[in-house]
């Protein structure tokens, strides 16, 4: 079991292309940790620096109490699982799994013992004599994992290992990988652009964007208390709604005001705004499930038009068009019905998130 620490890590590619900016992460031993972000966010560069496949421009990477900056990939004892299995199609499953051990001066018996342990661990013993060519996608991924764990690495790195699988198979593999990691106990870093994967698999998530760390937290934390507007919009499906608004005070009460709405804020948010005087303009974020709708207006309800209604079985997603042309998504019960272009009234319920309009940082993130 190995802990992993990144201290002020930078990666700048030739031509002054900034890939990773001053990244600090502390991943505990045995943890299933996800690096989440869109393409170009720096997650792959980070993974490659941990593996030693990419030089660090500045900063330090520690495995437990060892600084690994200058260690070769093979000296770090990390294993990688890729989206493309990178297997040898004409070799048997056995030979593919044994491959990483062949560079070691081990006895045949010891190699055999390790290969059989890995195959047994993954439940693919019966595949050992078969050629890789002809296996299903799921089976190939198991072989790829077998090859990664056979060396008993100190850290397991997974680079979008299931993103190409079909939806149902992906859902199953998510659970299988979590189980596997739990049984194995190896510190694991999992890279993905899919927020559902990160949310459902990882004990903690680092959300990255444009080379910068946005937030580190448990799935519940990043969902409930996004540190930045980016995190608010990236985590959760359908995505959070945003609108520019002004903060106004009237009779000791705070309101968020835009051309489309004027909504009262709770005393709790009001107290926080009091404590930070001088906030005039802000960016409001509200999740689709924090909005309710009614046919008749209510106090402070927001007028909108029904733009699109999307029933999805378990729930229905309603896209509304507010007065000044903003689109707001609302999660409504599955039996909800409304005519297209009819008038509807929205009630905003807290949690309401307020972000700095310039920096995008949550005004009240602690």
């Amino acid at each position: 079991m190995t802990s992993l620490t990144l201290k002020g890590v930078w990666k700048i590619y030739e031509g002054n292309v900034l890939a990773v900016k001053d990244l600090n992460l502390s991943i505990q031993e045995g943890e299933f940790f996800a690096l989440l972000g869109p393409s170009g966010c720096g997650k792959s560069s980070t993974l490659r620096m941990i593996a030693g496949l990419e030089k660090i421009t500045r900063g330090e990477i520690w495995f437990d109490h060892t600084l690994v900056n200058d260690l070769e990939p093979r000296e770090r004892n990390v294993a990688m699982v890729f989206e493309t299995y990178a297997l040898y199609p004409y070799l048997s499953v056995y030979e593919n799994i044994a491959f990483p051990l062949r560079i070691r001066v081990w006895s045949k018996e010891k190699v055999d013992q390790k290969v059989r342990w890995a195959a047994d661990f993954l439940g693919i013993t019966e595949l050992l004599p078969m050629r890789v060519r002809g296996l299903s996608g799921g089976q190939m991924q198991s072989v790829g994992i077998g090859r990664a764990i056979v060396r008993e690495p100190s850290i397991l790195l997974m680079d979008e290992p299931i993103s190409h699988l079909e939806a149902r198979q992906r859902a199953r593999m998510r659970e299988e990988l979590v189980d596997l990691q739990k049984r194995l106990g190896t510190t694991s870093v999992y890279i993905t652009h899919d927020q559902v994967e990160a949310m459902t698999m990882a004990s903690r998530i680092a959300v990255m964007n444009l080379g910068e760390l946005q937030q580190v937290g448990t799935p519940k934390e990043v969902y409930a208390r996004p540190r930045t507007e980016f995190v608010g919009g990236f985590i959760g499906e359908p995505p959070m709604n945003f609108a520019d608004c002004e903060i106004q005070q009237e009779d000791g009460r705070f309101f968020a005001v835009s051309p489309s709405f004027r909504i009262p804020l709770s005393a709790e948010l009001g107290d926080k705004l009091m404590a930070r005087k001088g906030i005039a303009k802000t960016r409001l974020g509200i999740r689709p499930e924090s909005i309710t709708v009614s046919a008749q207006p209510t106090d402070y309800s927001v007028r909108g038009l029904v733009y699109v209604l999307e029933p999805q079985g378990e729930r229905t997603i309603l896209t509304t068009r507010l007065e000044n042309g903003e689109y707001f998504l609302v999660e409504v019960p599955p039996d909800f019905e409304a005519e297209t272009d009819s008038v509807i009234h929205l009630q905003f319920r807290e949690p309401i998130h307020l972000f700095d309009t310039a920096s995008g940082i949550n005004l009240f993130y602690e």
């Binding site: 659970e175 999805q312 079985g313």
Partner: protein
Amino acid sequence: MASITVQNVSKQYKGGEVQALKDVSFAVQDAEFFCILGPAGAGKTTLIKLIAGIEAVDAGKIMIGDRDVTDRLPMERDVAVAFETYALYPQRTVRQNLAFPLQAPVRRSEWTNEAIETRITEIANLLGIGELLDRYPRQLSGGQRQRVALGRALVRKPKAYLLDEPIAHLDAKLRHRMRGELKRIQLEQGITTIYTTPDQLEALSLADRMVVLNHGKIEQVGTPDEIYKHPANIFVARFVGDPPMNILDASLDGGGISLVGLGRLPATRTSKEILVGLHNSPQVKIGVRPRDLELLDVGAANALCQTEVKHVQVLGETSILTLTVGALELRSRTATFQAPERGATVGLTIDPERFHYFDANTQRNLELFPG
């Protein structure tokens, strides 16, 4: 604008080795948004090609409006097609690609240069590719190319749009937005649309009516609501809805419903009606949607059984639980604030009014196909 009728259509490939479609029939009404839902290899793309006339049927008939077009050339059918594999002209700009369908000799009289320019701008803005008009396909990302391909189909106002997984390569956020825009465009223009997808959420979201296709055969045709609430068989029940419906072995008798591995619940009017229709054996399969499992305190008196929480997947407000009862594994969809911890033991019950009944052998829905 036109209805589209597919009548007893079959199609084989490789000299009969691969049966892509088997005796497929359905009717799409004028101005309808019709989805073809099915897993990979179901025959979705084949159907689009046959309706478009890009490939010929082996047997059966295809009608557009009241005209039999089975033996007609693609251009005589007046449909616009977008494929998942973009098929853009690499040596033409986005603008030229979009203009192409409007510049065909047969349409010269309909479309002036100004009208073409206006229409291209309109469609490009709707799809968020307005700034890309002067680029070449090679300078675009996969998602951008796919939107150009979609735009090239939508730019014209044909009798019907045939869209084959047109937004599969967009990222989740953009896909959601495009889905909304597509539904709007279709609604406003009222052009009959056939849309294929392997994604059940997409089909439920978009379709007025849909067909579920599997291995070249129709499993069910209906509105999204009908298909979700009354799936014709276990395949449809598990393919539509997320996570998939739980399927349990059970047997019925006059007094109750015995769920294998879980316990016994009192009979309902439906279960008694179903029992009457069962001739030989009281064995059935019972389906329960994950959101219909009720979690109770451990040891609660009204619990059907106790269950262990094997996985908790937090999606936000909603969490997906994997529950085990002995060797049985069940999925539950529950509010995150009520979700128990991984490893916890909790009570479980199900309202038998929520059950879906399937024939243990044919797997067909016993309420839709009694006896």
